[in-house]
């Protein structure tokens, strides 16, 4: 293990960087998109609700790999030349946003209806009430589940290895085939993943206990 660590240090760090970068970008955009569709689902407008429902159900029930490979194969053919990292991150964002939408929707619906009614009767518009009253309370509830989503995101970002995204898993594979020491290569990569995910998951458990 030590040999792998010292000889392929730069590849590992690069892979770690790409994994983190992709996860953070995907988390940022999927939180925005997910929140948007979550709001769609609680709107009084029926058509918007159906759009929100379709988006969430569609991308929750298709494997991430199929989504990522779709973008990796299709976009360069018809739209623009993009690399595997971009295609993978787009897939990751769309897939995760459907899970975040579901989480945030549950959060919004768990906020007491009286909050919205009270804000509305105090003269706020629907959007103001949503933005300043309901959403902040909803986000407080969904922080632990969102943290778990981020852990999943870091793990799921390993699909970038399928689309040449230069992430940790991809580097792990190339190290394994260069060094011919598969066991130790994969163990080192595993340790790198655990460095990110394990502390996060313990912190989330702690947070859940404290907020509960």
């Amino acid at each position: 293990m030590w040999y792998i660590l010292t000889h392929y240090w730069s590849e590992l760090i690069q892979g770690l960087g790409y994994t983190l970068l992709s996860s953070v970008i995907a988390l940022f955009f999927s939180t925005i998109i997910g929140t948007m569709f979550a709001i769609f689902e609680v709107l009084p407008n029926r058509a918007m609700r159906i759009i929100g429902r379709i988006y969430i159900e569609l991308f929750r029930n298709i494997p991430l790999l199929v989504i990522a490979m779709f973008f990796y194969v299709i976009i360069p053919m018809y739209v623009a030349k993009i690399d595997g990292f971009t295609a993978g991150t787009i897939g990751l964002t769309i897939y995760t946003s459907s899970f975040i939408a579901e989480t945030v929707r549950a959060g919004i619906q768990s906020v007491d209806k009286g909050q919205m009614e009270g804000a509305r009767s105090n003269g706020l518009t629907y959007w103001q009430a949503m933005r300043y009253i309901v959403l902040p309370q909803a986000f407080k509830i969904v922080i632990p589940p969102l943290g778990n989503q981020f852990i999943n995101l870091v793990k799921n970002s390993s699909v970038l290895a399928f689309v040449a995204g230069f992430d940790l898993m991809y580097q792990g594979n190339s190290i394994a085939s260069l060094s011919l020491d598969t066991i130790n290569s994969y163990m080192v990569v595993g340790v790198f993943y655990l460095i990110i995910t394990l502390p996060l998951s313990y912190y989330m458990r702690h947070l859940e206990k404290r907020l509960a």
């Binding site: 989504i67 490979m69 699909v159 598969t182």
Partner: protein, 217 residues
Amino acid sequence: MQNFIDAYSWVNIRFLLDGLWVTVEVSLISIIASFIIGSILGVLRYVKIKYLSAIVGFVVDIVRNLPLILIIFFTYFGLPHLGFKPGILFAAMLAMTIFESAMLAEIVRSGILAVDYGQMEGARANGMTYVQALWHIVFPQAIKKTIPTIVSQFISLIKDTSLATIIVLPELLNHAQIIYGQNSAFIIPMFLMVAFMYFVICYALSVLSRILDKKLA
């Protein structure tokens, strides 16, 4: 349009369905095996046997926090270096079982924790041993509570089976790749069909999970 008609020829659809069958087969066997192993691990973690429970807990946490792809690679490319060479199908199932067992261990444990402690006390007060009370009283109630979660875990397992294309497991996505590898005009039709097939199965299961959730709650 012609592309779609050609792509969805009976031969191709049959080939995809063959792949779908492998997907379902692998996920079903893995979820059953993981349910058994996961329950044992979950109970072991719950009962607090000195050292053993802590070790089980630590291993479960480690496996849960690794990407499944890494575990698939490890079973298929790593194990031969330890002197055991699994076939593709076995390696895939082994990887899924290891990963899902850890997931289910955590689910079962939280299920047991959600059962009112009075149940255990009542059973003990009625003369049952600790193990009897756990097995006959607490465990069945815990499983009933966790069934919807286990079904959703099964959904993500079916989706995750697609990751095994990387070790050329002949499942749905792999078969689609073989078809569009022969004719690039089939790429879009194949992706849409694969997405559709996954969607139908997973959506049906998620509806089932929601119904169970309401019924068992």
